[in-house]
Symmetry: C2
Subunit: 197 residues, 2 copies
């Protein structure tokens, strides 16, 4: 037990570092960049609040756990913005390999089977093929769009993004798990892009 607790607490000390990983999206009042720890908190609450929108068979607690840990690899790798390098950087092989190594290191701090369980949950999220992962990924793509809108444009301005690019890079993934949510979001962001011209 002492060794188990030592391992658990080593992991809990390590994850504190996610608060230093900044994202391309600013927070609500555009005063600073969002970090990946508070982003993960927001997504866990999205999963709880929008549970009635989730496809049948989704296990909300599995999704919440998945979203709480989904960005921990960024402690080693950093956040790769969706719209960086014209939308191509995010899925590069080099980044995927670095993230896999980070997952092995970070989840490896935990006692088994807990570490293996969370590592498997992260792998499932990354593959976004199961109903739980598809729902989780839809939330992960929707929240930054709404935060950009709330902040007055955010990373859309920084990366000079068009509505068609948001549709292609983000909208398709939101709509896969949450089609009604994407309709709702698109109706609210369209005026911003039209006004920008």
């Amino acid at each position: 037990m002492p060794q188990t607790l030592d391992q658990q607490m080593a992991f809990l000390a390590e994850i504190e570092k996610l608060k230093s990983v900044t994202r391309a999206t600013p927070i609500h009042d555009a005063s600073r960049p969002e970090n990946s720890a508070e982003h993960s908190w927001t997504l866990a609450l999205y999963a709880v609040i929008l549970a009635d929108q989730a496809p049948a068979g989704v296990d909300i607690f599995r999704v919440v756990r998945m979203l709480l840990i989904h960005d921990l690899v960024e402690i080693d790798v950093g956040d790769v913005p969706i719209h960086s390098q014209n939308g191509t950087a995010h899925d590069s092989t080099a980044i995927q390999e670095a993230e896999a190594a980070a997952a092995a290191r970070i989840f490896g701090l935990l006692p088994k089977p807990l570490g293996d369980d969370l590592h498997a949950l992260w792998t499932e999220f990354e593959a976004h093929e199961t109903p739980d992962a598809i729902y989780a990924k839809s939330l992960d793509r929707a929240q930054p769009v709404l935060l950009n809108l709330q902040a007055g444009g955010g990373s859309w301005i920084d990366y000079d993004v068009t509505l068609a690019q948001v549709e292609e890079r983000v909208g398709t993934k939101v709509a896969r798990g949450l089609p009604a949510l994407w309709d709702w979001v698109r109706a609210r962001i369209t005026p911003w892009f039209e006004a920008r011209g």
Copy 2:
């Protein structure tokens, strides 16, 4: 449904503001104060990782939901540091009334019964009498202690806190739900206070 989704999304936009509420505890590298959104993320992961330490009968998903929403009232009221005003400010009647009004406003943004459910969960956390709330409160008290230690002293220095005060204001609450964790934590913070003299 559109009205329900409007209400859900209004709540999810409102909670973004918790990222602007700063706490007395610095983050891991002492580079800036922690905010209440990222603090809540950390606690949700504490609940998941330390589930094997929880008293019998604790429902971890209820605890996670409780911790995700436990600080939302700070959007209106701000964070009241444990060690401020020599440890007395935190439980004042004026602050409790302001927090109750904030809870009514913020959870009132949601459709029923979801808003009522989360409001009841917040009230249960504040009362810290049920097993779920006692476990949640123990985590809420433990994490800032460990973060202060990781950051080199944090709010212990700012408020000139003694080990006896940490024991009284924090340790008793951690030990109520997680006695083995408090033993573990106390053993690790004692050298810091002894070195400070």
